[in-house]
Each structure stands twice: as C-alpha cells, then as structure tokens.
C-alpha cells in the first residue's frame, strides 16, 4: 500500500510537470539544438524509505550519458540493508549492486524541451550477505505445543545474483538542468547463488524475490545534467505539428 501511494504520488508529480512544460511558450525564433552530456542523480525513494522504515537503509545513485539523439547509456549503483520480519523468518540482507544498460527515448520533444519517456534495459549484479536472525519450525500438528522462534544469528557471506531488468520511465526537466523522473521495472533473475539451508529472499537492487525468478522495482530520481557539447538539428527536420 505504501508503495502504491508512492507510485501514484510520483505519477502525479511527474505528469503535472510534463503538462506545465508543454504549456510553456517561447518568444524567440526556434532553433532546435540537442545537448549532450552526463546526468547524475539519486533515487529519492530509497532515501525516503531509509527515514520512515526503521528496518531499511538504502542509497542509489543514478547516471546516464547521451550517446545518440535517442540513446543513453544508463546505470545505477547502490547499497541496501534490509531486515525482513516475517511470520516464520527474521533475516537481514546487506549488499551492493550495480546496474548497467541503456535507455531509449520514445518522446518527441518540441523545440528545446528535453523530456524523456523511455524504455530501457539493464544488466544487474549484486554482491551481498545475509544473516538469519531467527526462524520457526513449521509443524502442522503442533501436538507438543506451538513451535517457538529459534535464535540463530548465522551469517551467510559471499552471496551473489545477476538479473535483467526491463524498465519504463519518465524524466522531465523541472528547472535549469534539474530533472525529476521515475521508472518502473520488471526484473528476471538468471543467476542466484543461494546459501546452504537458506534462500536469497531479498536481493539488494533486485528487491524481494517471489516464488519464481521475477521481481519488480521502481525508483524516483532527482538528477542534474552536466552539458558537454551541443548539436544543432539538421535543417531538414521540422518539428511535427500535432
């Protein structure tokens, strides 16, 4: 529910800023130029969760580099530390992740607007450790009494996972070179080094794992664009009227 609210809020915020942008009018004669450079930012949702969720600490830095008019090399790097308290299990996962891939801008910008509605793909890898704090035995009969929680504290080190993400996102310039954006992601694990007698139930960067190998994630970013060079649009290309 918390996540759903965050989604809706993000959606609202980004949509309104997109609308606000499209209503802007320029007085000068339009000269279409494309700016190329590096954009760096941070995932606000992980920072926010670190404050309001006492069992979570996370940070994710994001970046992209505009390679061609519509293509961006993009990636994320971060660290997560999460304690999950389930009915049968209580464990803590700590680790680092890196995701690299590309974004493809689907949005036709007018004039000098620099918004993005994009699809992208990432290859993600995470290295982490898990500590099983406590667990319960599942005993259906419970004849000799209900199973009590057993303290463990066993640490499983050197765990890793690799996955592919497909994402859909929006980035919009709010002022100067500042952008806000969000992305929704569907992840598919393809390599998962699990510990003996336990499982990787949470993977930093991938998020919680379900019965299968699919997962979902999202981020909400604020980023700053560092321009490096500009390209003028070829004269032949006239912005389409819609």
């Amino acid at each position: 529910m918390k996540h759903t609210l965050a989604f809706l809020f993000s959606l609202f915020l980004v949509c309104t800023s997109v609308v606000a942008q499209t209503q802007k009018k320029t007085d000068s004669i339009p000269v279409k130029t494309y700016r190329y450079g590096v954009r760096v930012g941070v995932d606000l949702s992980k920072i926010a969760r670190s404050f309001y969720e006492k069992d979570y600490k996370g940070l994710e830095l994001v970046g992209d580099y505009r390679l061609a008019k519509k293509y961006y090399i993009a990636g994320e790097i971060g660290n997560e530390n999460k304690t999950v308290n389930d009915e049968q299990l209580n464990f803590t996962t700590k680790g680092t992740f890196i995701k690299v891939g590309f974004d493809y801008n689907l949005y036709d910008n007018w004039l000098n607007m620099e918004n993005m509605v994009y699809i992208g793909a990432r290859y993600g890898v995470s290295s982490f450790s898990q500590t099983l704090n406590s667990y319960k035995i599942y005993d259906r009969s419970a004849y000799f009494g209900y199973p009590q929680s057993i303290q463990s504290g066993e640490e499983f080190k050197g765990l890793s996972a690799q996955w592919i993400e497909i994402l859909l996102g929006v980035k919009t310039k709010v002022f100067n070179n500042f952008y806000v954006g969000f992305s929704l992601r569907v992840n598919k694990l393809f390599s998962n080094k699990t510990p003996e007698n336990f499982d990787n139930l949470f993977i930093p960067g991938f998020n919680r794992t379900y019965d299968g190998t699919f997962g979902v994630g999202f981020n909400y970013t604020v980023s700053y664009f560092i321009p490096i060079y500009k390209k003028k649009a070829p004269i032949a290309i006239v912005p389409k009227k819609k």
């Binding site: 049968q88 689907l106 259906r140 004849y143 859909l168 569907v186 379900y210």
Partner: protein, 168 residues
C-alpha cells in the same frame, strides 16, 4: 505509447500482487510425522486395522484417536530428542478387559531444514541406530499387545514412506 504504459503498469501490479508465497501451502511438505503401518501377526504380509487406537504423548493430555485404519501418523516432539507415547488399544472400550496400553519411546536426532519464506524451516528426524525405540508395558501391567516392531526407514524426512511396522 499510452497502451504500452498501461500494459506495463498492469503487468507490474499483477506481478506485485503475487502474494501466494506468503501462505504456507498445505501441499508443501513440512515437518514429517512418524508413519506406522499395522500388520497381522498371524499373517505378516497383510495389514490389519486397529479398531480404535488412542495415543497420548508424554507431557500432554490430548488423545489422538485412530479408528479402523492400518496406517497412522505420529507427531514427534521438535524440541526434544525423544518422544514418548502411550499406545492404547481399544481406547474407550466399554469392556476394560479389551483395553491394553503399551508405551513406546522414540529416540532420534534432529536437523532443521529450510523450506520457504512462508513455511520457514522443518525438522527432519533420524531414529537412533542402536536404540530407535523402547517398548515398555503400562504402569499397571496388562501385557504387551504389540508383538513385533520393525524399523523400515530410520530417516524420517517425509510422510510418503512408512518408517515403522507393528504387528499385533
């Protein structure tokens, strides 16, 4: 474009609502019980039903009652290395002469094995190699009704196989 966005959001919501693995399903094998088959002592290849059999574990007062079955499932204590039961044949019979109690103590080692997020762990048992069980008579002796007890499988890891056979 819009269609793609809607499709993506729908896919995301449907995936994130896959909470089925939050409930430990009945179909998931968890801590197994000891499976006992009853056989006819006069014809050891034939299973024999117990008319009524009540078992009571030491430290509890709850009776587990079996009627007209040849296969029973006995819970083992997951917090101790022994489980001791009274096996009361013809439990609750109006004629006290038919009621016969034997005491069986099972000795085993335990290990806890991971199952899943929803189920947590299960305990698997290994019956002691030299002394898997001890049969004694009731406190008020009435003779032993179990004539022959054989361990078929000392490794109790599932309820799919029979671990012990008792002839009477």
């Amino acid at each position: 474009m819009k269609k793609l966005l809607i499709l993506f959001i729908v896919a995301l919501i449907s995936l994130s609502s896959c909470e089925a693995d939050d409930i430990c399903s009945e179909a998931t094998p968890t801590t197994p019980r000891l499976i006992i088959d009853f056989y006819d002592i006069s014809n050891p290849t034939l299973t024999k039903n117990v008319t009524t059999l009540g078992i009571i574990g030491e430290g509890t007062t709850t009776v587990i009652l079996f009627t007209n079955v040849s296969k029973i499932k006995v819970p083992l204590d997951i917090s101790k290395d022994i489980s001791k039961y009274q096996f009361i044949l013809n439990y609750g019979n109006s004629n006290p002469a038919f009621i016969n109690t034997d005491i069986l103590q099972f000795d085993y080692t335990r290990r806890n094995v991971y199952v899943s997020r929803a189920c947590g762990y299960k305990t698997l048992f290994n019956l002691d190699a030299t002394n898997p069980f001890t049969q004694t008579d009731a406190d008020t002796p009435d003779g032993l009704w179990m004539k022959n007890i054989t361990v078929l499988q000392s490794n109790i890891s599932s309820e799919d196989e029979t671990h012990l056979s008792i002839s009477f």
